[in-house]
Symmetry: C2
Amino acid sequence: MPKTVAEIARETGFSATTVRLIANGQAGKYRISEATAKIVEEQIRRYGFVVNHAARSLKLKRTDTIGLVVPELSNAFFARLMSGLEELCRGSGLVLLTSSTNENPDLEDRAIRSLWARGVDGLIVAPCRTPDYGRLFAKNAKMPIVAVDRAYPDSRYPSVVSDNVEAGLTLTRAVLATGAPLTAFFCGQPELPTIAGRIRGFAAACQEAGVADWKELILRTAENSVGAGRTLMGQLLERGRPPASFVCSSLMVLEGATQRLKERIGRIPPETVMGTFDDQESLDFLPNRVFSARQNERELASLAFAQLKELLSGRISPPEQTIVSFQLVRRGGARCEPAAGAGL
Amino acid sequence: MPKTVAEIARETGFSATTVRLIANGQAGKYRISEATAKIVEEQIRRYGFVVNHAARSLKLKRTDTIGLVVPELSNAFFARLMSGLEELCRGSGLVLLTSSTNENPDLEDRAIRSLWARGVDGLIVAPCRTPDYGRLFAKNAKMPIVAVDRAYPDSRYPSVVSDNVEAGLTLTRAVLATGAPLTAFFCGQPELPTIAGRIRGFAAACQEAGVADWKELILRTAENSVGAGRTLMGQLLERGRPPASFVCSSLMVLEGATQRLKERIGRIPPETVMGTFDDQESLDFLPNRVFSARQNERELASLAFAQLKELLSGRISPPEQTIVSFQLVRRGGARCEPAAGAGL
DNA sequence: ATGAAAGCGCTAACAA
DNA sequence: TTGTTAGCGCTTTCAT
């Protein structure tokens, strides 16, 4: 069964170039005669033909492949991001190689090296620390890289991130507007740029509402996990009564916080108002008033992808930060209102 | 900056063969002299060296790459499965190419063709219909394939799946054991082998408990989605009062079902007992007694990976079905008990 | 213990 | 309009 252009060429009696031109759909462009094209196309249709990507890459020094590096694939946010990127790649004839780093800088380095060694044409990375990957590549290699989700202050790569400050502001405002006294902001991994932004937004909303003690409201813990949420709620409960309202830096933290509430006081008081980053249908399980800030993963994916294609195309674009807005969602409540999203 | 073996060879004065042997760590095996090895290794350490995978693949007709094809990457189950596989690949020097099909057979075919054209050495697929991919490849190509999650009855590929029947049985038993009258089993995509298995388990548990009308309890809908859950709960509520207990074929269906309950009767009655497939921390948001059946994605990943490596190694292994047990988890409740998982 | 050379399948520059 | 050719960087076989 013919597979290579050489074989098809031999069988049709034409040369490899002619066959290749036709196979790649450039017959018109190079004015291959109708008759020739017909013969070759028929042969291809009957026996099939797939370009050998390895050979192609070897020649072109390009793999039509891009790499995605994320901290945690089983995190819904990154899964959706990847899903979006995968679709975009498919539309452009690219394939996506994905690695996860488990928030570990060493693993991140290794993943990036490995992807580089595999010859990916470019990289989209959600870095777990200020990214600086130059040393990972050969000296004069220049790998197009765009950062997503996390814009570290002095990063040298263009980045595409959500508007965490604005989201923190809007979310906190919504919680404050219920009139319930604000009791705490539970933060996991406060050193991440995303979380730092959310904290700034929280602070701004508090100041604007005249919440004097907002600094004391922020409880931090190194990890972002369910356990972290439990710990933080535990700390709060030791200081006094259950919170009238609180905000969480992530869904996992909220899950932990509510678990602890149940353990300590037997239930989640239904009048407690909650705010959280990361939206999920299951927030509707709660009878409480819940506000959640939902990121637009599709938008992040397409902007990051566009940015990378820009770099790939060779046009030099200066490190640039692109910002995508969140959506505020109202969840929970005694009855479900149609998820009323208000763009920011 | 030297990168290719040829360059290093030229710079050290040795031949490409010698350099390659040393670079690949086969110096001892081929008794390269200590001195030579030292010189070459030093050169490599200083200037770095990465094999060119494209060239290597071209020569070896092997890419050290495997493909994963799943219906939906943003589904937590598949995201975790992928995460596990990615880690296993990393440990074996492979890379994983992932595509999603959106439950669309055409996209599935395209994804598989594309992965094949990219030269993946093998494929792990969660098929969206009885898989038969022979026609997608060149006539005499033989692509190692293992199916995961979904074992279609007359599939010709080895498969690794969860024990859906047993899980349906155990989950339904747990719900029945609470004493609450069982009102419905909401099923999305009942034609999937996974769901069919869950239904069989449900039926068995009902029969063993003397539930005579179990056939009428099963409400089906083509889709597996939040909307499907809403529809099904809507149907049930039209027939009568809110359910004392019900089981859902997936988390999304449960989410939809509870949403509809809230809309119709203003709240989720806390005494309702629920059973669901797919476990998630957020089930603890519910004050209800909730049982969930959790799949072991890591186990599925490692068994599928092992099976594929078996095929890759050339040993012929007959189509075989490997079964992984679920874990029954107790969630929700007035207070959170330590997630008491009972293996099946 | 080390080297030379062929060839994997493709592309691009040039030739006819 | 079509054909010829030279590599891309690696592995492998055979020579030395």
